[in-house]
Every structure is written in C-alpha cells, then in structure tokens.
Amino acid sequence: MNKILIADDEPNILLSLEFLMRKSGYDVFIARNGSEAMEIINRDKPQLVVLDIMMPDIDGYQICSYIKSNSELADCKVVFLSAKAKESDIKKGLEIGADAYLTKPFSTRVLMQKIVELLK
C-alpha cells in the first residue's frame, strides 16, 4: 500500500485530503507544519507528498528540495498544493523538482487523478 504524506497548516484542508486519500486506499500520514513533515518523511519514507508551500516553520520549497536531493528518497513524488498561484511561483516549484503543482482552490478529481498517475 502506497504511503502518502499530506502537509498543510489548514486543518480543514487536511481533513478533506485525508478523507480523499483513505477512500482511495492509501496509507495516509498527516503533518500540520514543516518540521512534522520532515520527521515523517525521514521516518516513513512515503511514496508521495502533498505539500503546502506556506507553513509556519519550514516552507514547502525547502522540503521539496530536501526530498529531491536525498538519494534515499529517490522514489518519493512531490505534489505542491498551494494558494500561491503566480506563474513565477509555479515555475519555481517545478524547477526545484516537484512532480506536479496544483493551485488552491483545487479540483479533488484532478488531484486524485494526478496522484494515481504519479504512483503508477
């Protein structure tokens, strides 16, 4: 069973995403901020991370860069899910190695489709 980490500081978004992932049968981990996310990534080595960019301690870009530069996490896919919707933000996210970038508000169907694709 694929492990998915969801990192966001907005409880309602976490709640909705958790519901969606569990329903699709993934093993779901939750992080409410950057440091929790880092802990889970290092400990549980999820196959995919859904990352918010703006979080109170460590931002999503830093976490993504960490994942992409760490050979132990070579299989880990990263999907940004952020309210930062400017083209420059998206470009930056993809440049540091994210596999997808979705802006908030997002379509649950598009997101799930993307995740299925990435974990194929």
């Binding site: 978004i13 909705s16 703006m54 931002d59 309210a83 919707a85 379509s107």
Partner: protein, 903 residues
C-alpha cells in the same frame, strides 16, 4: 667688546637674512610655499615695530611714563576697522595694479601726476628722518657694545658704512624685478624672520633682566621698599599727568600710520598675495604688539634702579645686560635691534623708491615722451631709476642723520613721521568711501596739512636750535600771537604731537571736504571714484569691461608693453589675455579696447598709473570716455552676470523639481507595490476558505452514501468557512476606511474598566465552554476615546487569547497601569506564545509579501492590523511581548489627559 667680532656678527646676521630671502621661495611647509603661509605674512606686518619700538619704548617709558603705549593702542583699536578698509584697499590696488601710496592717491583722483608727485615729496620729508633714526640706532648700539664714545667728532663713518650695506641689501631684495606688483616672496620671509627675532630677543632680555633685577633687589630690600621704589619711579617720571587729548591723538595717528606708512602699504597691499591673509594679520599683529610691550615697564624700572638717570635711557635694554655682565645677552639685543632697523629700512626704502620712480621721475619723463623710442628708453632705465631711488633715499637718511639730526630732537621723530603720514588719511579714506572727493580737495587738504605739520612740529625744533629766530616760538609768526607754533590759535594744554595732529588733520580734512564740494570732478575722476567706492560691485566684471574708446593697433600696444617686460613676455601676456577673453590677436588687427585697458593696468604695475596713462595715450587715438559710458559698460557686464546667476538659479530649481518628481514617482511605485502585496495577501486569505469549501462540496457530491454524522460535520465546515470569507471582506473594508482616513472617532468619556468588564461578560459563553480562567484586576481609568473602537480592540485581543490558551488550564489576565503619561492595558495569556520573528509582522496587513514563504500564525487575519490602526488613531499604540511556550501579552496604550473637546 671687540669691534671686529661685533662686525663679524653683524655681517653674519645680514648674510643669514640674504640666505633666507633668496632660498625661502623654494621652501615648503606642509605642502605649501613658506612665502605664501598666512602666518609668515602676518608676522611680516610687524615691520611696524622698528628700532624705535625696540629701544625707544624703553626710553619713553623711562622718561615719559606709560604714554608710549598709545602708539600700540591705536593700531590695536584700529585693527578691526582697518581690516575692512584693507580688504577694500587690497581689492582696489590689485585690480588697478597700484603699487604705492602715491600711486593710489594719484590714481583715485584722475591719475593726476601733480598729486602723485606731491604725495611722494611729502612722504620723503616725513619719512627720511624716521629712516635716519634707524641708522642712528644701529650705529649707536654698535658703539655702546664696543665701548666707543658717542661724542665722536666729524663724520660718523660707521653710519655711512651701514648705510651702504643697507643700500646694497635693499637693491638686491627689492628692485630686481621691474613689475613692482610682483611680490618679493623672499623679502616677506626675511621680514617675518626678523619679526620673530626681535620679539624673541625682547622677551628673552625682559625675562633675564627682570629675574636678575628682582633677585638682586630681594637680597637687600624689603618688599615694602620695592613697592615704594616703584611708586616713586612713576611719580618721578610722570611729570605730565595723564592727558586724554594726548592719548587720543597719539593713538589715532598711530592707527593711521599702521595703515598708511609706506612700509605698511608695501606689506599690506603690494606684498599681500591674498585678501585672506588679512583675516590672520588682523589678530596676530595686535597680539604681537601686546607681547613686545609686556617687558617694557619692568625693564624700564630695572634701568631706573641700576643705571640711574643716564643720558642714554634709549639703550636701557642694551646697557642692563652689560651692567649684569652678560655680554652674550647684549649681543642678542644688538641683533634684535638690527632686525628691527633693517627690516624697517629695507621695506620702507623699497616703498619710497617705487614712489620715487613711478610717481616722480617716470611721469616727468613720460610727459616728454611722444614716441615709442623715448618710451623705450624709459623702459630700459626703469630698474636703474628704482635703484637710484633706493640709493637716494638711504643716502638722504644718512645725510639727515649726519647734518640735521644734531640740531633737532630725536625723541619724537617717530611720532612726527606718524603725523606727516596721517595727512594722507582724509584723501585715502575719503577716496575709498566718498564718491564726491576730488583732486582739488585732496591736493589742498594734503598741502595745508603738511604746512601745518611743518609749522607746528618742525619749525619749533629749528627755532630751538637757532636755525630760525626764537621769536617765532615766543611771539608767533609775524609776531601774531595766534600763530605761535606750539599753541596755534591759542590752543594750549596738549603735548606737541596732539596739538599738531589736531590742527593739521582739522585743516586737512576741512579743506578736503569743502574744496571737494565746491569744485567739480573730471570724467576720468568720476569713473575712478565710482570704481574705488563700489569696488566690490565691479571687481568681478572689471577686467572684461571696455574702458577705452578710440583706435589702437595690436603691434603698437605690444611694442609699448615690450619696452617694460621684454618682447617674449609681452607676447605671452597679450596672447594669454586674448585667449582668456576670446578676442582677436592678429598682427594687423585693431586692439580690442579691453586689451588696451589690460596693457595700461600692467604698465601701471611697473611705472604707476599716471605714467601708464600717458604712455598708452601715445599709441591710442583716444577720445575721452564719459563716466556714463563707462558705467554703462560696467553695468552691462553686471547685468550679464546677474542674468547668468538667474540662469544658474533656474537650473538649480529645475534640478530640484526633477528630484522632487523622481521622489514622488518612487513613492508612488512603492505604494503600488504595497497595494500589490495587499491584494496578494487578501486573495491568499480568500483562497484558503474557498479551497475547503470546494473540496468538501466535491466530497459531499461524490459520496452520496456518506455517514450522516460526517455529512453534517462537513456541511458545518462549509458554513464556517463561508463566515470566514464574510469576516475577511468586512475587515478589508474596515481597514480601507482607516487607510483612506475616512474613519472618524466618536469621542466620549468613559471608564476603561467598564469596557473590559462588558467585553469579558459578552464572551462568557465561549470562556465557559473552554473552561478558561479570566482575571480582571481592579482599576479605574477615565479616558476620552471612541468606546466602540476600544471595545472592538478588546474583543479581538481577548477572543484571540481564549482561542489560543489550552482548554481547562487556560489563564487570561487583564491589568492596567500608568507609565510615561500613557495608560497601558495588558491582556496576557498562558497560551503557546508567538515566535519573536512574527512580533512585528503580526500587526502588519502585508504579511504576505511577494517573496515570503513563511506564514504568520493562524487566526490573526487582519484583526490585529485593524487594532493597530485604531490605537494609532487614538494617539496610542499596541505592542506584543511573548515567549514561545509560555504565553503572550498584548499591551494597548492610550495617552491620558485627553480633552473631550478633541473632537
């Protein structure tokens, strides 16, 4: 002392002066030429102090009490006024290339030859005895040191030898260059050096003599007796009681002399290469006078005690060291005396020889010269004429000393000279400050002043020595009682100097004013008087102004100049001038009027203004320029300058406007960026609830078979997120109101405590649900504020606190205090606290700036930004103290004593 050794010392000292004079121009100090240092210049002004100061003050102090001080008081009091006068004088003389007092007066009054000649002759008559006094001082001090007799019979060969040495010295120093307006930098350095030597020697001798006299007195006299002796010294000497008239007149003519003596003119104007120098000499010179007089009285007293009533009181300074058996000190004093005498003789003679050649001989020759060949012969002989002037001046001084001085009293020769020089004061001061003063006024004033001077000061001494009949003194001229030289028109009670100064200056000044008013000026005079009096107005435009009307050709003009400065130099000067003023410099061209004026000025510096005018007239077919024309030209140039200044001012204004615009633009751009940041923030804040709403809506739609509880939970979330959006919109609108200044306060007077209690009660349900403990301290502060707004702030703070404290163990406290005229209200909690990096950010609505990726703590929204606006609008503030993990404390502050009428 052995005369040979002393002669060697004398010659060696003169050699040292030579070395200084010839080498000083190459010396540097801190990167500046030594000869152009302001200090060197200021010291050279002390050439005012001659051997008469060096020896004579003591003689005077030993015989005539402290009246000698008036001679130094005058220049000191005059110094500040003199500063203003000299500034103007220097400007005038530099622009018009005036190099002597005679030339100054002649030039101001229409370049009049007669006036220049008369001033020159008067200067000679007044100054030659003064020069002879220096020769006498050198010769007699030499004799005293060598123990030779004063009562020599026949010719004083020593004085003759000294005279020839000084002639050689002066010729080498002063008349090497034709262009008198060029400074003799080396001379200045040598004179400054001599000033230092004479001051040093006087103070050294004063200290040593005072010390020795005091210690030898203390041995056998009690303090009382010394004091008694001092008192009797004064009593005995003070035969004439203090007389204000004497003091006033001596001080006045000394002040005039410090500005008008030919040697002072030479240093103040000719040798002065910058007006800036004057601001140094204005205080250094009086200070020097003070220092050199400090030891006069102690030494004079020592002389009274140890030398008795000697006939040689003048040489007290020289005799005391011999008495105390200190020959080395006597030699020092001798050198100090030579310094004082030689510097005076050299500078004075240079000044007099310039007058002699430029105002007496050359104008006479120039008047006869109607062709260039004759002018050329003048040019070739200028240096010779000047050297002859030196020779003639010093030799006259020697002859005076040898043949006349025995018949006249030497004691007040210095002051008699001063009075003679003071006769130029009305013409010079009037010339610089009064446009209507004219040549007839100047001429008659100077002449009558000199006649009175001669009659009141020279005639009595001639009569006393039986050269004239004594009847004049006793019964008056032509036996008219009111024509007695010592009490003219019956004036008695003053000393001879005060008496003579009063009458001569009165007649002089009176004639100058009355005759000037009665007679008219020529056009040339009018032009010169405009220029002199308003020199600061015209000095900028002077050089480029046309002062000539008429036709001249460049080759003629150049040839004229070449007679005096040589072909090469003349070509260089003319081409430099044409380049500077962008005028044609063609062999066949007519000379530009400005160039003719330039050549005349340059020649003025060599041969004086009157001669220069005459010579230029030989090459220019000239028509007289009216003063209106001249002033027209000057004013036009001035207008151009004014226009130029106006343009400069406009340019500056434009530049200012430009930078103002740039600044405004920068501010607008910044505002625009802030607006962008705000929009980003708001959209970001809106996206978050919308995201939740959309996600849950889709979930609910896609999962119709969901548990009823979950369904309700999710719908509830959607509702709350909608409320969040509504709140955010309200806040944005609210904030905008504060930003635009449209938000007004409705001030009332109320107790802050009541508001706190109301807010806490309103939140009671929330508090009870979370089981939080809220402590409100007892206080009472009446404030004047907008009650609704303050309530809004408190709701925000307290509800935030409730939100962030842990349930059941949450503690919130509200307390108030007064500090620095402010009422502080603190809302503290034991929640999780706020990271210090957000402490400032938390009140900022733009927390979501462009490149920011960290997020501020949740729940604050725009609420705290609005709180801050409210507090600022009340003249207060809001701040935060927080330690993460321990809790936060928000403080709002309000000024006390706010009046209700504020609204």
């Amino acid at each position: 002392m052995n005369p040979v050794i002393l002669s060697i010392v004398f010659v060696a000292y003169l050699l040292l002066l030579f070395i200084i004079a010839f080498k000083a121009e190459g010396w540097k100090w801190k990167g500046r030429k030594v000869t152009s240092l302001p200090m060197v210049y200021a010291l050279s002004v002390s050439v005012f102090c001659t051997a008469w100061t060096f020896y004579g003050s003591l003689g005077s102090a030993s015989t005539g009490s402290i009246n000698f001080l008036a001679v130094y008081l005058g220049p000191t009091i005059m110094a500040p006024l003199g500063f203003l006068f000299l500034k103007k004088l220097v400007r005038v003389c530099k622009l018009q290339q005036i190099t002597s007092l005679a030339d100054l007066i002649s030039s101001r009054y229409g370049k009049n030859i007669a006036l220049g000649s008369i001033v020159t002759v008067c200067c000679f008559i007044g100054i030659v005895p003064y020069l002879s006094l220096q020769l006498k001082a050198v010769s007699e001090s030499f004799r005293i040191l060598c123990g030779l007799s004063f009562d020599y019979k026949g010719v004083d060969t020593l004085a003759l030898v000294i005279s020839f040495i000084l002639i050689g010295f002066t010729v080498l120093f002063g008349s090497r260059k034709t262009l008198t307006s060029e400074q003799h930098g080396g001379l200045l350095a040598a004179v400054a050096f001599e000033s230092v030597v004479k001051l040093f020697v006087f103070i050294l001798a004063g200290l040593v003599i005072s010390y020795l006299a005091w210690s030898s007195l203390s041995v056998d006299l009690s303090a009382n007796k010394i004091a008694y002796g001092f008192a009797s010294f004064f009593k005995e000497n003070d035969t004439k009681t203090f007389n204000f008239g004497d003091w006033f007149w001596v001080a006045l003519i000394s002040g005039f002399a410090s500005l008008l003596l030919p040697r002072m003119f030479q240093i103040n104007v000719v040798e002065n290469d910058s007006e800036h120098n004057l601001s140094h000499s204005v205080w250094i010179f009086p200070f020097y006078l003070l220092l050199i007089n400090v030891f006069v009285l102690p030494v004079a007293y020592a002389g009274y005690l140890f030398l008795g009533n000697s006939t040689t009181v003048d040489y007290t300074l020289l005799l005391l060291p011999l008495k105390f058996n200190l020959p080395w000190l006597a030699v020092f004093v001798f050198i100090g005396g030579i310094s004082a005498a030689t510097s005076m003789v050299v500078v004075e003679t240079i000044a007099l020889s310039t007058m002699f050649s430029n105002s007496l001989v050359i104008p006479f020759l120039a008047r006869q010269a109607n062709s260039n060949s004759k002018i050329s012969s003048i040019g070739n002989n200028t240096l010779f004429i000047r050297k002859f002037g030196v020779f003639f001046t010093i030799l006259s001084a020697y002859l005076y000393y040898e043949f006349v001085s025995h018949y006249t009293s030497l004691i007040s020769i210095g002051l008699i000279s001063f009075v003679s020089v003071a006769q130029f004061a009305p013409a010079v001061f009037g010339g610089l400050y009064w446009k209507s003063g004219n040549k007839y006024g100047a001429l008659s004033g100077i002449l009558i002043g000199f006649v009175v001077w001669f009659f009141t000061l020279i005639v009595p001494s001639l009569a006393q020595n039986n050269i004239l009949s004594r009847d004049i003194i006793d019964y008056g001229l032509f036996h008219l009682v009111w024509l007695k030289p010592n009490s003219l028109f019956g004036l008695e009670g003053w000393g001879s100097i005060a008496h003579a100064s009063f009458w001569s200056l009165l007649f002089n000044f009176g004639c100058y004013v009355v005759v000037s008013v009665w007679t008219t000026q020529t056009e040339e005079e009018k032009a010169q008087s405009e220029l002199f009096v308003d020199i600061f107005k015209y000095s900028e435009v002077y050089e480029s102004s046309v002062v000539y009307k008429g036709v001249a050709y460049i080759p003629d003009v150049k040839a004229l100049l070449a007679n005096f400065v040589g072909d090469v130099r003349a070509s260089n000067l003319i081409s430099a001038f044409s380049k500077r003023h962008k005028i044609e410099n063609d062999i066949s061209a007519k000379a530009d009027p400005r160039m003719v004026a330039f050549v005349e000025r340059t020649l003025s510096g060599i041969v004086g203004s009157a001669s220069s005018r005459l010579m230029v007239a030989t090459v220019v077919k000239e028509e007289e320029v009216s003063v209106q024309e001249l002033m027209g030209v000057l004013k036009e140039s001035q207008n151009l300058i004014a226009l130029n200044n106006e343009l400069k001012r406009k340019t500056v204004e434009l530049n200012n406007t430009k930078s103002d615009l740039e600044e405004t633009n920068r501010k607008l751009i910044q505002l625009d960026e802030l607006k962008d940041d705000f929009l980003t923030t708001v959209t970001h804040e809106l996206r978050t609830p919308i995201t939740s709403i959309r996600a849950f809506s889709e979930i609910l739609y896609d999962n119709p078979d969901m548990e009823i509880e979950d369904r309700q939970h999710y719908t509830n979330i959607i509702t709350r997120e909608t409320e969040r959006i509504t709140r955010l919109i309200a806040q944005v609108l609210d904030l905008e109101k504060y930003e635009s200044g449209r938000q007004k306060l409705h001030l009332t007077r109320f107790d802050l405590y009541d508001v706190v209690i109301n807010v806490v009660e309103g939140m009671q349900q929330l508090i009870a649900e979370k089981q939080v403990n809220v402590n409100v301290a007892e206080f009472s502060f009446m404030i004047v504020a907008d009650e609704d707004k303050i309530t809004q702030v408190l709701i925000n703070l307290i509800s935030n606190a409730v939100k962030f404290v842990p349930s059941s163990s949450g503690e919130i406290s509200v307390d108030s205090s007064i500090e620095n005229e402010m009422i502080n209200l603190v809302v503290a909690d034991n929640g999780k606290g706020i990271d210090p990096q957000f402490h400032d950010l938390i009140f900022d609505k733009f927390y979501q700036a462009e490149n920011q990726t960290l997020r501020k703590p949740k729940g604050s929204g725009l609420g705290l930004a609005i709180c801050k606006k409210i507090m600022l609008l009340h003249g207060g503030d809001i701040s935060l103290k927080s330690i993460p993990g321990q809790g936060s404390a928000f403080t709002i502050s309000l000024p006390i004593n706010r009046e209700l009428s504020y609204e």
